[in-house]
């Protein structure tokens, strides 16, 4: 009997070593708190809930402590575990192009086609990427890591994940979480910079209404967009190819079912898997480092630089534009590719100064150009550094 009780005791003691309570460290609790904060932001503040809910909950999943030496195959970094299998889409970089397929199928490029000069704002805002790249180099990261961190300034989660999975896989969790966090915080980060860099007169500029765009132009856009950008930067092919393909599905008018699948069930499925696994990849043991903290700092800086460069570019651009063709610099912030949030910010800030001035459709131009621009920038970095 005594032996049996000893057996039970040792069994229970063994079991205790497998529990989360036994294996927990303070880092786990920090990450769990961050996850809960993300869920709070999504539910209470409605900041990018589609992203923050999966990422936040993924953080909870990824930070349940367990005995890592037991070979339970439950952790995301344990080969063969379910989470690890789902994470392959991130590490091999095939989730982001599928997300781009969906984005292409849901994006209307009409605003850009009707006023193509807005594309240049999308290009100017990419300075955020390279500004952060230079600062990251200064802070001691190597060029590949600096490029992966800099891409946060593109404000494009899938692109950030795609590039970091190739250039700096060890920093991918921090980069992805940073990119998505700041995308969710666009309503907080951008307005003060926009107000700071513009005069009241500039904020009241009314832009010419966009012209109607024909079906032929809409069909031509993805085809020419693909050929022109990918002949220039073939390394951007996975992202740009899928983006323009998705857009052709939408605009061709004859593949409605495919377009609906791409912008509906497909992108939803991939968003769930991507968000959850990116969140789970923030396992405390891998995530809580000084580098992660630096990445968060650089991410914020890159957003600030991108927003400022977009706004300042419009101001400079206006110097050479005719009086009736001037651009409201409040749409400069939309050059970052956080679609459609940054365009919405242009509208909201613009409406504060003139409620009858509708900037949303104009801001969508640089906004979608930003998607193209950041994918091109990612392609360039990949081409140069890999």
């Amino acid at each position: 009997m005594g032996e049996f009780i000893n057996f039970l005791q040792s069994n229970l003691a063994d079991f205790w070593t497998y529990t989360g309570f036994y294996n927990a460290t303070y880092q786990h609790f920090i990450m769990i708190a961050v996850g809960i904060f993300f869920i709070y932001l999504a539910v209470a503040k409605e900041f990018e809930p589609m992203l923050l809910i999966p990422i936040g909950f993924g953080m909870l999943i990824g930070n349940i402590p367990f005995n890592m030496e037991a070979g339970l195959q439950v952790g995301i970094y344990e080969q063969g575990s379910v989470l690890n299998i789902l994470y392959q889409g991130v590490t091999s970089g095939w989730y982001p192009p599928l997300i781009f397929l969906g984005i292409g199928a849901m994006t209307d490029f009409s605003a850009l086609i009707s006023n193509p000069k807005l594309m240049l704002i999308g290009a100017a805002a990419q300075f955020g990427i390279f500004g952060a790249y230079m600062i990251a180099l200064e802070w001691g990261f190597d060029p590949m890591q600096a490029a992966a961190i800099g891409i946060i300034g593109g404000a494009d989660g899938p692109t950030a994940i795609f590039l970091s999975s190739k250039l700096a896989p060890n920093l991918m969790g921090a980069i992805a979480v940073s990119a998505y966090s700041y995308m969710a915080l666009v309503p907080v980060i951008q307005p003060p910079i926009m107000r700071l860099l513009t005069t009241k007169k500039e904020r009241l500029i009314r832009m010419k209404a966009p012209r109607a765009v024909s079906h032929t132009e809409k069909v031509l856009f993805p085809i020419m967009g693909l050929l022109l950008t990918c002949f220039l930067v073939p390394s951007g092919l996975p992202l740009l190819g899928m983006l323009f393909f998705g857009n052709l599905l939408k605009e061709s008018g004859v593949t409605r079912r495919l377009a609906e699948t791409a912008r509906g069930p497909l992108i939803d499925t991939i968003t769930i898997l991507l968000g959850l696994t990116v969140g789970a990849s923030t396992q405390a043991s891998e995530f809580i480092t000084w580098d992660s903290l630096k990445i968060f700092g650089l991410g914020a800086l890159s957003f600030v630089i991108a927003t400022a460069s977009g706004v300042l570019f419009v101001k400079i651009f206006n110097l050479v534009l005719k009086k009736d063709n001037k651009i409201n610099p409040l749409i400069g912030n939309a050059g970052v590719s956080a679609v459609p949030d940054s365009a919405r910010i242009s509208q909201i800030v613009g409406a504060e100064y003139d409620p009858t001035n509708y900037l949303l459709m104009h801001a969508m131009g640089p906004n979608v150009a930003g998607v193209i621009g950041s994918a091109v920038a990612a392609g360039i970095l990949l081409g140069f550094l890999i």
Partner: protein
Amino acid sequence: MNKYIAGIFFASALLGAFCSCTTPEAKSKIVINEVLVDNQENFQDDYGVHSGWVEIFNTSYNSVNLAGCYLKVSSEPGDTVSYFIPKGDVLTAISPRQHALFWADGAPRRGTFHTNFVLSKTKDNWVGLYDSGRKLLDEVVVPAGVLKTDQSYARVSDGSDEWEVKDDSETKYVTPSTNNQTLEGNPKMDKFEQHDSAGFGMTITAMSVVFIGLILLYVSFRIIGKIAVKLRKRNAMKAHNITDKQEAKERRLGEAPGDVIAAIAMALHEAQGSDHDVEETILTISRVKRSYSPWSSKIYTLRENPHKK
């Protein structure tokens, strides 16, 4: 005038593109990468024997299977020996940018990678690699007399065009089944760290490329937009039976200002909105009618339950 500008733009773009194009030479994915003729103290096979060897390299970023290919060797005209690389051995699949080593020991019964020929130590050795359709993929002549014992004749680096004698010196070493030149760092990264430690060069280059890409799109769609507007005006003139351009301009034919479109959209929205119940408490169920398609047919998606007997 615009048509001419468009024409000139596209013609010059096409001309530029064609001029910058190079005619790619049909290069084989698998090449002979290194040959060692006289093996005394070099790499030994799994039987512990020192024999000459031929290394094949997969230059592509995809797996290539050598099964069914032929390795041929000749040291005199007319004495060509042909070795058929057997099928059914998974090891004949070479991973991307990896190597396969064939022993020139004349003992094919020892396994897939042991050939039926030996290399001549006194004469030139011609080595050819053929695909299963007997098409020559790559060939090399290993000159006699230049190779000493345990020295190999190899491409300077994997898959490169230049060959050299690997004499096991500091920079030229014999490398069976591995890279002909070992990289001791990341040259691209080193270049950036050396010449562009602050990142200005990368920023200027990359931003220029981003701008060029989007400027190209801008120019293209500016031209396409102008053509589209012209076409729309012409179609509107046809529809209204007007030939005078001035009259068409005055009547603003083909133009659809945003405010007009917005007014139409709002009117449509209101009209459609009035079809529905306003009261929150009333539930309206619309009958959805879908056209038949075999893809969505229930008959094809139903599973037959097992019959009870």
